[in-house]
Symmetry: C2
Subunit: 135 residues, 2 copies
DNA sequence: CTCCGTGTCATAGACGACTATGACAGTATG
DNA sequence: CATACTGTCATAGTCGTCTATGACACGGAG
């Protein structure tokens, strides 16, 4: 699968799962109508407890991203693609705002912050390319 | 004082205190030789428990940023300025890397990420200016 | 010396996140 | 029908963070 969680990332594991499922829907990796990985499968794959995945899926159901198909599992809802595309910007923006604020607060001026961002970008792209290739 | 903590920021409160003290030292707001605010004063100011501040100060002592002055309190160590200036870049860089990674992973391309950053910057600067003015 | 402020330590409790198990009702598949 | 899979629920335990409270030794100021 295309998911990966980090236990000590600040964000709770179930929250990371929620975000990444939304991202997968937004990018089209998980098209509407397709079944999401089962709670047991995903739990095993992420080396995480079953209930943690279940908690993430419950939240995704409440938000309308996933729909229960009785006896089959959870499917990506019809309107989820549009919804997730709109939401991912906000999700990223919120975290970005926090970090930028801390960066400026730390005494780094605008140029230095932009240099840091520019310096990180190549490594990020490289990592992303490796991930897509690996899949 | 120049510190402010957010209980649900992902980062633990004592960690936020550690980081911000380091930033204050790095920017010169807390010069070497000066006394850090007492645990009780800072705890009251941040509306946080005494032990939480104490935990942050203990870590700062271990890392050599603060030094105990018996009967007086904790003072900024001599070499702390240089040390904190070098470290703040790493502290910011680590968080920045995480967020940039998530942004790219969410399916946003490079241009969109940079647009988001550019869009946030003015608000950040405005907030920073307001903070400096308020002080 | 007395009073006050300093940091430090120990104990206990609340809370959220996560794990570990077991059990249940559904449905697809054979 | 039986098996295997699905999500869901309940319980209990661990762990880290934070809070609440009390106590201690130390040094400055009066």
């Amino acid at each position: 699968m295309f998911l990966h969680v980090d236990p000590d990332n600040g964000l709770a594991i179930y929250d990371q799962i929620v975000r990444q499922i939304k991202f997968a829907v937004a990018t089209g990796a998980l098209p509407p109508g397709e079944m999401a990985p089962s709670v047991r499968e995903l739990a095993r794959e992420l080396a995480v407890n079953l209930n943690t995945v279940s908690k993430a899926y419950q939240q995704l159901q409440v938000e309308g991203v996933l729909e229960s198909v009785r006896g089959m599992g959870l499917a990506v809802a019809a309107g989820a693609l549009k919804q997730c595309r709109a939401e991912r910007v906000k999700l990223v923006q919120e975290r970005l705002r926090e970090v930028l604020w801390e960066a400026r607060q730390s005494g780094l001026d605008l140029d230095e912050v932009q240099k840091l961002i520019a310096a990180e970008m190549p490594a990020i792209d490289k990592k992303l390319a490796a991930k897509l290739k690996g899949k």
